[in-house]
Symmetry: C2
Subunit: 105 residues, 2 copies
């Protein structure tokens, strides 16, 4: 099961967000995915496991090569989380008339 918690945690890491960007327009093998990072293949494999558990990618091993591709399921979890809360949050703000300052330090 993919939870919002998993998706948030997965995307909280810069390397994993970058991997997602790189998978946007093409599927990549673990090695290809690993190439730009100063990191062992093992570490990359661990990142991929986290992304897959979060439902953000799908992987399939063909022969000795594991192909990694985007899985929009995780993104949907994210969007639904945001969509479910925004009206409530917005409504509350409207009710109070935004009594707090508008600048975020």
């Amino acid at each position: 099961m993919t939870t919002a918690a998993q998706v948030f945690q997965a995307l909280g890491d810069a390397t994993r967000r970058d991997m997602m960007e790189r998978l946007t327009d093409t599927a990549l093998s673990v090695s290809a995915l690993a190439a730009p990072y100063d990191m062992t293949l093992t570490a990359v494999g661990q990142h991929l496991a986290i992304l897959e558990a979060a439902g953000l990618i799908k992987t399939e091993k063909i022969g000795r090569v594991r192909s990694c591709a985007i899985n929009p399921a995780g993104l949907e979890v994210l969007e639904q989380w945001a969509r479910a809360r925004r009206p409530l949050w917005q409504r509350r703000l409207d009710r109070l008339g935004d009594m707090l300052d508008e600048d975020d330090a």
Copy 2:
């Protein structure tokens, strides 16, 4: 400045997500927010600092009480991040015809 990185990291923590839920329909003081957790007030203050830096809440100290309320700015960052990527990700999946299995283990 509020970045996607900050928002993801902030919401990756279960306590902080729960705090956001509890702020949905009312503003709360630090003590009131802290009450349900088996955690010191200091720790709660640290969580709030992270949420505020991420643009997810706004706080204002009136007298000796700090009032904490939802700030939709952080949520917007999240929604925009998802909205910007979904069409690209979806397009790619359509192009390939979803060659990978549909189950997410």
